[in-house]
């Protein structure tokens, strides 16, 4: 019983972190209708940026955060403007191919620049552990989960209560109609990419307080991200939140109660199960065939 409670609490906390790093993947998928296989690589770069800001320039994590997030936003906007814009009307095959190219480029340029070493930071507020429902959880994980909740809240408020947010939603639902209404769809796409990578940067920055970065860190996260997004659906902000938490729970409960070796296998199994049972995605939000 105690083991199960521990697994559930740990799973919930890690699930929120998964949700945070997956959020941007779902956002681009939903709004821009491009599946970004390189999403985890942006997170990896944000982790490196945080590392150098904290370990190199001796900034506090919270001081480094705005810089890292702004850089992430800029990287997203540039990716859209330079690359994605040109493949918007290309077949899905080309789009998938392109983002895999992006994955190779981002991962191995980090490899070339920083080498294969693992790097991490220590952030004093993330030291020690806290008790949640009597279960000790690392303070770093709890901080990251809080950051996830705040980010989700802010993004949700932005989408629901601002005019730009509404325009973004309109673009997601029907770009042609949005264009006809005078919404600058191109700018919305750019904004979606900016927000997507910015949220991945928040996730990366907090992840670094308890997870070391290396150029291949994305490997462990790419399929987790896809699992979260497909599970929760990518029409809303709440979809990836739900999906991420479910994936966190599956991983944690399976890892604690079944076998730690096969916890990832079980997560991928869950992803496959969802794909097979709901071929159109959980919420059936697919626009193109």
């Amino acid at each position: 019983m105690n083991l199960l409670l521990t697994a559930v609490v740990q799973g919930l906390i890690m699930g929120l972190v998964y949700a945070l790093v997956s959020l941007g993947l779902g956002l681009i998928w939903g709004v821009v209708d491009v599946v970004n296989f390189a999403h985890a690589e942006y997170m990896m770069w944000a982790m490196y940026a945080t590392y150098f800001a904290v370990a190199g320039f001796h900034l506090d994590l919270l001081a480094a955060l705005p810089i890292v997030v702004a850089l992430g936003f800029l990287a997203g906007v540039c990716t859209y403007a330079v690359l994605i814009r040109r493949i918007m009307s290309a077949p899905a095959v080309t789009q998938i191919f392109t983002t895999f190219g992006l994955l190779f480029f981002l991962r191995y340029s980090a490899f070339a620049a920083f080498g294969p070493d693992f790097r991490g930071i220590t952030w004093p507020p993330a030291g020690g552990s806290v008790l949640i429902l009597g279960v000790p959880i690392g303070a770093a994980q709890v901080d990251a989960a809080l950051a996830a909740l705040i980010t989700f809240g802010l993004l949700h408020a932005f989408l629901q209560w601002t005019k730009t947010g509404k325009a973004l939603q309109a673009t997601a639902q029907n770009p042609a109609a949005a264009l006809a209404l005078g919404i600058e769809v191109e700018r919305m796409y750019m904004l979606a990419w900016g927000l997507s990578i910015a949220t991945a940067a928040v996730g990366g920055a907090f992840l670094l307080t308890f997870y070391q970065v290396s150029p291949t860190v994305g490997d462990a996260f790419l399929l987790l991200m896809f699992a979260s997004v497909v599970l929760g659906g990518f029409g809303s902000v709440l979809g990836p939140l739900l999906g991420g938490v479910v994936i966190g729970l599956v991983e944690s409960v399976a890892g604690n109660l079944v076998s730690p070796t096969f916890k990832l296998a079980l997560v991928f199994g869950a992803l496959l199960l969802v794909l097979f049972l709901r071929p159109g995605g959980l919420l059936g939000q697919e626009r193109r065939g």
């Binding site: 998938i96 191919f97 991962r107 191995y108 490899f111 490997d219 296998a265 097979f276 071929p279």
Partner: protein, 585 residues
């Protein structure tokens, strides 16, 4: 192309006699092995458009199977590689059956996840060496039965033969009917099914062939490197690499994956040598940049880039040929027509919405029956239920054929199409990348067509029929133009002609004349009447009242998912109920 292929083959066969640089020969062996895998990937991902990012599973299965057989049972790899190919093909079919229900992104994602799953399993499976991996028995060095040598030349020739076979398989698929079917499935699977093409069967066939070839490449790779473990042969990056080679060179062609493999492997060898270390990953940085660049500027790959330099002659639009007109007067009365299609109590619910609410409808042999009704009446839903694109919620659909009645409900679209029921779509569906003539060739009868038959070119009878129909609809000047280059009206004519190739006894037309100019309307009307004379029965949805009045023997008026009135055109025209519903009065 075949002459060029033969020349390349001879050159490659003679190469080891002239070049003795081991580094270069090693590079070429890798090009052949990866090239085989890229060609194999292309069978599925290129021709059939199913993007797999899990082919490392088959590569790994191949490597592990032949290695286990040799190391643990002493079975020669000359036999073991075939066992490996068979096992990989069997696994691929088991995996393919559920996975092929997924489209595009989801299929790619599922294959990626499956590959990870298999890797994790092998990493923890002690029988196959788990994370430590397996060594091939080097004590059998230079014993030919064990396929292990300490020189590179035998490997070079084995890999070259395999690569040649893979290119041959690709070339064959590209030249026979199957290649056309696969391209049609790639471009629009639903429209292909409407012609009766069994998409799942051909996708599984390509999956099996692709997996078997990839496994052969994996077996030979294991024999060459003499050590395998999950992080080399089952590395997900390897799957991505196979795909990237094919896509980079130009998918759906024979030369593309070969060029892609050659270019990327030799590039990485060169970068590895020049920039100091494969391990630093410079080669992958360059790959990434090249991939993005080529995707943004030339999605057809390197081969497309080459083709751009050679402008192809475009067919000048020739004079349009009008067919002999068939007036209504030539039709005359018909003797006691027999029942052909019977729809009874057909219902379709979308959640709480009753799109079809108990539709009864009959079509008799030789008739032209029209369906009329306001938007949202359920007309297209009716067609989708009859042709299997939507599952009906209730009711009966029976096609009365010479061989006895056939119940259509619950059957897949391609099966229904094979029973002799052709359809066109409201939103025009042609295959943009196929030429006009190719559209007509794939329109052939698919009922009883064996896989062996699909591996041959189209028979002369089909070619004659295609030529005849090209003339019939006046598109022969455009025979080699891709459908994407045709005007909307021409695409409608093409979709119509394509459905006619197999002489379907019953054709369902969804708004055949909507959105085309008056000349084309008249032509389409003529074609329908002419075809009706030739024995085809029609069920037509149309908003163009004049066209429908001129064509139809009987009309059904639908509203709110029901048939409201039924009768000869004049009667419907005078029905207050129908007019009120149609014009919303």
């Amino acid at each position: 192309m075949t002459a060029a292929g033969a020349a390349v083959a001879v050159l490659l066969a003679l190469l080891p006699l002239a070049v003795h640089n081991a580094y270069f020969i090693n590079g070429m062996i890798l090009v052949f092995i990866y090239g085989t895998a890229a060609e194999a990937w292309n069978l599925l991902g290129g021709y059939a458009g199913q993007l797999s990012f899990g082919h490392a599973v088959f590569f790994g299965l191949g490597a592990y199977t032949s290695t286990m057989l040799l190391a643990r049972a002493g079975i020669s790899p000359w036999l073991g590689i075939w066992a490996a190919a068979g096992l990989a093909a069997a696994v691929s079919l088991v995996v393919g059956l559920p996975t092929f229900r997924l489209r595009r992104h989801y299929f790619a994602l599922a294959t990626l996840a499956l590959a990870e799953l298999v890797r994790v399993l092998f990493l923890n499976w002690n029988l196959v060496g788990a994370a430590v991996g397996l060594y091939l028995p080097v004590r059998l060095m230079n014993q030919s039965w064990a396929m292990i040598w300490n020189t590179k030349t035998p490997y070079y020739y084995i890999a070259l033969v395999l690569f040649g076979a893979a290119c041959g398989a690709g070339a064959w698929v590209g030249r026979v009917r199957l290649g056309l079917y696969l391209r049609a499935i790639d471009e629009d699977e639903d429209a292909a099914a409407a012609l009766g093409i069994p998409a799942l069967r051909y996708k599984l066939l390509m999956m099996g062939a692709s997996a078997a070839l990839t496994a052969l490449a994996g077996s030979v790779f294991a024999q060459y490197v003499l050590y395998i473990d999950p992080s080399t042969v089952l590395d997900p990056l390897r799957s991505v690499l196979f795909a990237i080679m094919a896509l980079f060179g130009g998918r759906g062609t024979v030369a593309g994956p070969a060029i892609g493999a050659g270019f990327l492997i030799l590039l990485s060898q060169y970068l590895g040598g020049a920039l100091g270390g494969f391990g630093r990953g410079y080669d992958y940085v360059v790959y990434g940049l090249l991939i993005m660049w080529i995707a943004a500027y030339e999605p057809r790959g390197l081969l497309g880039l080459v083709r751009r330099l050679r402008p192809r002659p475009t067919a000048a639009p020739g004079p349009e040929v009008r067919p002999a007109t068939h007036g209504a007067d030539t039709r005359g009365p018909r003797p006691a027509p027999a029942l052909l299609l019977e729809v009874a109590g057909l219902a379709k619910r979308f959640g709480g919405l009753r799109a079809l609410d108990g539709v009864d409808l009959e079509v008799r042999r030789g008739e032209i029956v029209g369906i009329l009704g306001p938007n949202g009446a359920g007309k297209s839903t009716l067609f989708d239920c009859i042709t299997g694109y939507l599952p009906a919620s209730g009711g009966r659909i029976v096609l009365h054929r010479a061989g006895g009645p056939r119940l259509l409900a619950g059957r897949p679209p391609h099966w229904i199409a094979q029973q002799g029921l052709a359809r066109t779509f409201q939103l025009i569906r042609v295959f943009p990348g196929l030429t006009v003539l190719e559209h007509l060739l794939i329109g052939q009868e698919h009922r009883g067509e064996s896989i062996a038959a699909a591996l041959r070119p189209s028979p002369p009878a089909v070619r004659d029929r295609a030529e005849g129909l090209l003339r019939f609809v006046g598109l022969e000047a455009h025979r080699n133009a891709p459908a994407a280059a045709l005007s909307y009206g021409q695409q409608k004519l093409l979709a119509f002609a394509m459905a006619l190739v197999r002489h379907p006894p019953l054709m369902l037309l969804d708004e055949p004349v909507a959105g085309v100019n008056l000349t084309v309307v008249e032509r389409l009307k003529d074609y329908i009447l002419a075809q009706n004379d030739a024995g085809t029965t029609f069920l037509v949805i149309e908003h163009n009242m004049d066209a429908l009045m001129a064509l139809a023997d009987r009309l059904y008026f639908m509203a709110n998912g029901r048939v409201v009135v039924e009768g000869p055109p004049e009667a419907i025209q005078q029905s207050d109920e129908a007019l009120n519903l149609y014009y919303g009065r």
